[in-house]
Amino acid sequence: MKIIGAILWAATAVFVLLAPLFLDRGSLNDLWNLAFAVILASAWNLLGGFAGQVSLGYSAFLGIGAYTTALLALRGVNPFITLPLGALIAAVFSVIIGLPAFRLRGPYFTIATIGVAEAIRVCASSVSFTGGSSGLRMPAGSFDFNANYFSMIVLAIITVALAAWVKRSAFGRALAAIKQDIDAAEALGVNSTRFKLAAHALSAAVVALAGSLYAINFQYIAPGSVFDFRLSLSIVLMPIIGGLGTVAGPVLGALIFSTLQIKLLSIPALRDSFLFIYGGLLIVVMLFEPQGLVGVGRRLLSLSRSFLRPRMADA
């Protein structure tokens, strides 16, 4: 079973890496968007799915990455060099927020993150050095489609690999323990705050990298787009639909989500209904299958196994 999974992952990676050879620009753009979604969903899942700390404020980290890159690029720095700096700032920021916030449990933590993200958005819109509410435009001549494509794809592959590695590691086990019973974990020596901070910082850094690449690709960023609450919501929705706390879940969720977005935008009648659909999905998934698609898949698998199991009745 695991070998099949590994082969599938490898095949997908090879496919997307070789795609520019046989796909047109439009499809490559779609793949780029998909990769972006995969990165955000998988990174968020490290804290939200593995450790069970649901943050609705990840747009903050995306914005930090985007703005760091844009501001430095406008001062003459090569955009790609700004990536590590954006990631670092995001990680540091995540620790500053996390130190007080992780004292809160469950939904209270979630509410705190909503507050933080909103505060940042408001500040970014009001302060002039970030260009205020009208945003920033990247310097001309910095657009190179192939570089953009490969950097996003490679980042996506690295992120998924990272998630897989974390899941199997001692770090991942600690996060799972924290998710299920934080006090019992502490009673066995797990320094839960340290691990939460680590997961938060790691995912924040990755999301910031994606934000930097976003700025490089779209050439224009504004608080309304990168610090938007709906973005934070989408980031959370993808792993939920796909399956929290799994490696495949965020990827599946990102796939469905991106496809849905593309389809929705092309049907005028449905264009204004995306909130219905997001909201409806959230309700349906949480009420009926909190484990998302992966959960549905697992249930189907065990159902089929029980059908195929030889009958014991006649023994």
Partner: protein
């Protein structure tokens, strides 16, 4: 001195509205132990329904509250039956699933509003919207004063409900000690439905009142939701006086900041959020809980 009076009066006016708004959230939390993120959407709907009643039937928004309250009570009970029942948190902390389900409901409500009323900014303009009166030498807008009066009436009504009726006592009992209340024969299902209805009704009238004070779009619930959280965290989720106290603190802080510092209005919301954050971390039991602990420490 004049400015201080102005700050005090404006804070009182704001606090009344905030308390109404926050109480809707507090009662649902107290009885069902879930955090109702759809509260924002309901407030928004309250605004739009009041608006619709005003434009269609030329019904004065404050009179419309008399219709909005029971209407939203029914809506709340229906919402409970549809969604609320499955997500009641039995444990001491609300579940993430319940949070996200209600979040989904909020999104659906937003879309509903977009579809029915479009995303255009709307407002309610009555004959008295622009008028003001002088109280203690301070000029106060007539709508603000009416909002305060309406809030006061609803909170008094609430108080009577909680202290004098079976429903009210049952709600207080379940809020303070769920297991004991259930053992005493309280029907959890019915009380939860009633609490959800009550909370929704309060959210609805808060929204209606807000509609008389400002322009609104379907997006408008969010910053008020965060203010409501702030209040509840400050005041403790379990008492009505706590909610009132929290509302006063927030209102004073906002008005004081506006009057005495040069913090621009756009950043004022950020201040509320910062306060929420600090309050959540420093006072996990709310300010009243903190005081209670202090009292006990000196009792012996």
């Amino acid at each position: 001195m004049q400015q201080l009076t102005s700050v005090i009066l404006n804070s009182l006016l704001a606090a009344g509205l905030y308390a109404t708004m926050a109480y809707g959230l507090a009662v649902i939390y107290g009885v069902m132990r879930i955090i109702n993120l759809a509260h924002a959407g309901i407030m928004m709907l309250g605004a739009y329904v009041t608006f619709a009643l005003f434009t269609r039937f030329e019904l004065d928004p404050f009179l419309a509250l008399v219709i909005v309250a029971p209407l939203f009570f029914v809506v709340g009970v229906l919402m409970y039956i549809a969604v609320g029942k499955q997500i009641t948190g039995g444990g001491s902390t609300p579940s993430i699933e319940s949070l996200l389900v209600l979040f989904g409901v909020w999104l659906v409500l937003q879309n509903l509003a977009y579809v029915i009323w479009t995303g255009d900014t709307q407002s309610i303009l009555t004959g008295y919207t622009m008028k003001s009166i002088k109280v203690f030498g301070v000029r106060l807008g007539v709508p603000s004063v009416l909002v305060f009066l309406a809030s006061a009436v609803s909170l008094i009504f609430l108080n009577v409900l909680l202290k004098r009726t079976y429903l009210g006592k049952a709600i207080r009992a379940v809020t303070q000690n769920r297991d004991a209340a259930l053992l005493s024969g309280v029907n959890a299902d019915r009380i939860s439905a009633a609490a959800f209805g009550l909370g929704t009704a309060f959210a609805g009238i808060a929204g209606g009142m807000l509609a008389t004070l400002m322009a609104f779009t379907p997006d408008f619930g969010r910053s008020f939701l965060l203010k409501a959280f702030c209040i509840i965290v400050l005041g403790g989720m379990e008492s009505v006086t706590g909610v009132a106290a929290g509302a006063l603190v927030l209102a004073f802080l906002e008005n004081g900041l506006a009057a005495y510092t040069s913090v621009p209005t756009s950043l004022q919301d950020a201040v509320s959020f910062a306060l929420l954050f600090i309050a959540l971390v420093a006072f996990p039991q709310g300010i009243t809980g903190w005081f209670a602990r202090f009292e006990r420490r000196t009792a012996r």
